[in-house]
Structure formats: C-alpha cells, structure tokens
Assembly symmetry: C2
Homo-oligomer: 230 residues x 2
C-alpha cells in the first residue's frame, strides 16, 4: 500500500522546544537558569499527561497542564511573585517555538506529494498558533485533544487514520522518539524516525542515530522528503 | 473584542459544488441531465443530515451520506448498472470542487491577519482533499465530524470556538446561507454573509444580496478581506 499521509510529532521532532522556552524564561524570569527551567518544565510533561491517561484527572489540555506545572516549578525554583500575565506569557512560549532549520523546507516539499498533518499532544489552538508563528504548512492540524486521549494511547493513532479516511498502513508517523513510533506501529501505521541530537541540549545523552524498528531513519525532514521522493 | 479567527462554511460559500458535481456526472453518467442530477443530489443533503441530527441514524460521515443518496438517485433517474468504481468517483467529486474565483485570493489575504479554518459539514478527509485540490490555505480544517454533530447544531459552533481557544465573540462565521449564520449568532459568534448568486445555477431564485442580521455582508472573500483590513 502506498503512503498517502504523513503525521508528525511536533515537540522535538519539528520544533526546538528547549531554546524557545528558555528564551521566554530569560525574558520573564531574569536570574533563573533558563535552560534548567525549560528542562524541568518539559520533565513534568509525561507525568502530567500520564495522570490524565490513567484517568486520575479528567481531560485537561496541554496548555492547562503546562500552566499547572509552571506554578509548581516556580515554587520549586524559589521564584516568588510572578504575576499572572507573566505566567500566561510563559505558557504561550510553547505556542511560539521555532522550527528546526530543515523543518519548513522539508514539510513544504512533502506537502507537494502527501497530506501532511501534525499529530501532537499539543492542543489545537497551540498547534495553530505554532504553525502561523513558524510557517509550518500543515494541510490540517491533528491533536490528541480531538480524541480526548494523549499519545501513546492507541485512540490517537487510530483516530488520525480514521479522520484522514485512510487505512493505517497508508499513514506514516514521523517522530524523534522511538516510544511514539512503537505505539504508532502497534496500531498499524508506518514509521519514520528523525534523529534530533540537540533536542535536550548539549549536555544530554544523545538519542540513537537510527531506529532499527522504523521503516526509515533520517537526520532531517529534508532528508525524509528525498527518501520519499518528494 | 477583536476578531481573531474566521471559520468558513465551504459548500457554496468557498467552492462551487454545482458545476464540479455536474462535471463528474457528465463524465460518469453520459446522457443524464448533469445539472439536474447535481441539484437533486444536493437536495438530499439537508434531509440526510437531519436524520442524523434527530438521532434516527448514528453518526454517518458526509461521504457515506453522499454515497447512500447517490444510490437512491441513480434508481430515481433510472440509470441502471453503474459500477462501484464509477459510484466511488462520483462521491469523490465532492472532494474536488473548484473554489469560486475570489476564494483563494481572499483567504490568502485573510490568513495574513487572522486564523482561518473551514467549519463545514464535510468530513475531515473530504475537506483536506478539497483544500489540496483547490489550493485553499486553511490554517486548519474544522469539521462537523470532530464534534459528532452537523450544523446547525450548536455543538459545532461551540466546538470550533473551544478548539481555537477563543471566546465565541472573537470568532467570525462566514457563510452564504443565512440559516448557518443565524445558528452561529445564537452561540455568540460574529457573522459575515457572502452573496453567492450562482450557487444554485442561473434558473434558481437568487439568495438575498445581504443579510441585515450579519455584522457584514460582502459579494466575495476579497471584499471581506478589504472590509476586515486584511
């Protein structure tokens, strides 16, 4: 079966969350170690979604999860008295992340030949803002929010194929995280791994250079376009 | 409150369904009055959705409603022996409709200043195909399918504002049909009427030139862009 649609993880795969969040932290919270704050905030991402995934908390958008973990982190980092509007701007930093240098060029080429959509845990409004900010040329935004389930719940991958009107084997999931790809593969999607060694900063252990379980492993979205003849 | 997002009815407002469907009818069903067939097919649109809206039928995508009414119409028009692949191509005609001459230019200008999204009873796959076919530059595709309700059910308008992360008064519904606008207004959205006198063909009674209840009435999406300083 020929691939018809590509769905993309966004944070880390298409955009650089770490430097974008750190930039806003420097602006709003002078004196705070901005990269450490960004890492700690991202560190709360999976645990906060897992509470929703386990049913311990009703559906909560990623914006609202980000806001709750920000309030906790400000206490943990000992930053008192941050006003509501500065907290709101910090949460909006996740809407204004910068694409990796190859992302817009790669997506633009892939869009000529395939349907391209986000498939992110970010809420729809976040993803729409991000696409406008960074020039991401999605055919449409697909989000965990549409399914009331966070990745890696199967409902997200199944729902994406259903909304695109395609059997799962005609949909290629593109991500920089092998766990996301493994969950997509378990639902019958095809998978492409993108190596993003800078995602967690220069001091972090780099991710694997390739995913042997994926249909294809690449170092950029432009390389993916070339591999898929787009 | 400033308008932040525009959501668009699609069939008749952004694209010309009648000539696109008639074109495919001529190709697949030689000898059939193509415009009469297109009109009759569209005539079954509201009754077929109303069965879903009244709960007499579970959620059914517009593609599937189109397919069921096509089967009925072929019998009614006395066209026997149309093979499955020709029926499938006829249903796909609704995915490949041509934009009105001002649509792409108007949307492209509006996108510079606003979030622009479809808000159509067409299913997501139909709207994605149509956008690629016609070059409609949506920021994202919003569809009745995402809410499990067809317009004019309130869930569709409420759901669009919720997914866009906006209060309804910051969302402008754009449509060529006063009933759609009235339903949007009842949910707190702002409204723009587009006069599309050619929608139902030259022999039909033309729609009103303006909607006195709407915030603005225009004759094209380029005029809408000008009125909204885009």
């Amino acid at each position: 079966m020929e691939i018809r649609a590509l769905v993309f993880d966004v944070f880390g795969t298409v955009v650089d969350w770490r430097s974008g969040v750190a930039r806003e932290v420097r602006r709003q919270l002078p004196g705070v170690d901005a990269e450490a704050f960004a890492d700690a905030w991202r560190g709360r991402y999976v645990p906060s979604m897992d509470r929703v995934r386990r049913g311990e908390q009703p559906w909560t958008s990623l914006d609202d999860l980000h806001r709750a973990s920000l309030d906790e982190l400000l206490a943990e980092f000992g930053v008192p008295g941050v006003p509501a509007d500065a907290r709101a701007e910090l949460v909006l930093a996740w809407h204004r992340l910068t694409p990796w240098p190859d992302s817009v060029a790669g997506l633009t080429r892939l869009k000529e030949r395939y349907v391209i959509a986000s498939l992110s845990n970010g809420n729809v409004a976040l993803l729409v803002d991000m696409a406008k900010h960074g020039g991401l040329p999605w055919d449409t935004v697909l989000s965990a929010e549409l399914f009331g389930h966070y990745k890696p719940d199967p409902e997200v991958y199944d729902g994406a194929a259903r909304l695109l009107g395609l059997p799962p084997e005609r949909v290629l999931m593109v991500a920089a995280h092998t766990s996301d790809l493994a969950a997509a593969r378990a639902r019958g999607l095809r998978t492409a791994y993108v190596h993003r060694p800078a995602e967690h900063g220069p001091a972090a252990t780099p991710p694997p250079g390739a995913d042997p379980e994926a249909d294809v492993s690449v170092a950029s979205l432009t390389e993916l376009a070339t591999r898929l003849s787009a």
